[in-house]
Symmetry: C3
Subunit: 115 residues, 3 copies
Amino acid sequence: MSEIQRFGVTRRCSDAVVYNGVAQFVEVADDSSQDVRGQVTQVLAQIESRLALVGSDKTRLLQVLIYLADLQDGPVLNELWDNWVPEGHAPSRACVQCGLAPGYRVEMVISAAVR
Amino acid sequence: MSEIQRFGVTRRCSDAVVYNGVAQFVEVADDSSQDVRGQVTQVLAQIESRLALVGSDKTRLLQVLIYLADLQDGPVLNELWDNWVPEGHAPSRACVQCGLAPGYRVEMVISAAVR
Amino acid sequence: MSEIQRFGVTRRCSDAVVYNGVAQFVEVADDSSQDVRGQVTQVLAQIESRLALVGSDKTRLLQVLIYLADLQDGPVLNELWDNWVPEGHAPSRACVQCGLAPGYRVEMVISAAVR
């Protein structure tokens, strides 16, 4: 049985957890003062960095659950998302509207295969 | 390490992704003009088709996260669900109310073991 | 390939499902008449019991998705959570606001590695 690897562990949560060849992590924009376009751009860049850190990359995404503070932001999300996901490697994806912490426009829950 | 299998890949998402013996996918009703009863019926039928496609079946569901546009639809969901799930093989299940895209009453996030 | 283990199976759902060394389960407070502090306390205790039942413990949590009925309850959740999670073993965590069944203040979706 593989061991659990934790990255960026704080009192409250880990930035990423890897087990059995699968990485799980959650991202919100580091700078929540930006608008939805800025926040989605940040989150997608943060995902790429996190994937690199855990030994994965964006061709190995398994599933992404997207929480938007406002579904009206869907078109901006989709425009940035569609340009970001590598063709032929899109993950399973859900996108729903939930209440997020003040200022946040988007939160993503990611699972990815590690190499 | 197993390879990632993707089914029904578009620019935005895959209909299903299989890795390490686990399939992950998301379903909303193909015809969102129907009422909640019609949509839940469709989603459950779509899940069965998807499970067959990836080499699984409804005795092998692991977890289902259900997003309802309105929790008042819970009784209709549960009536159809309880008749659909094979006895003795029910998955772990969560059900919460979230904002869904216009017209949609239900969205389900499924994980299942493949054979 | 490992077999699927189900715990506490009812017509509608299983209390927990274990596959490939990973347990998945969902918890809401057994007594939903309590306030948020009481419900979070219960849910965390229920998680510990469930983890013991499936052959895991709270040092082996992988990811927890937290649904709050009201994000204003975040500080109470975090106070109890931070004291509950074993230092150095925090899981990946998301926390959003969703509609929950009447009376419920919190629902958690847990994945954990079994020993």
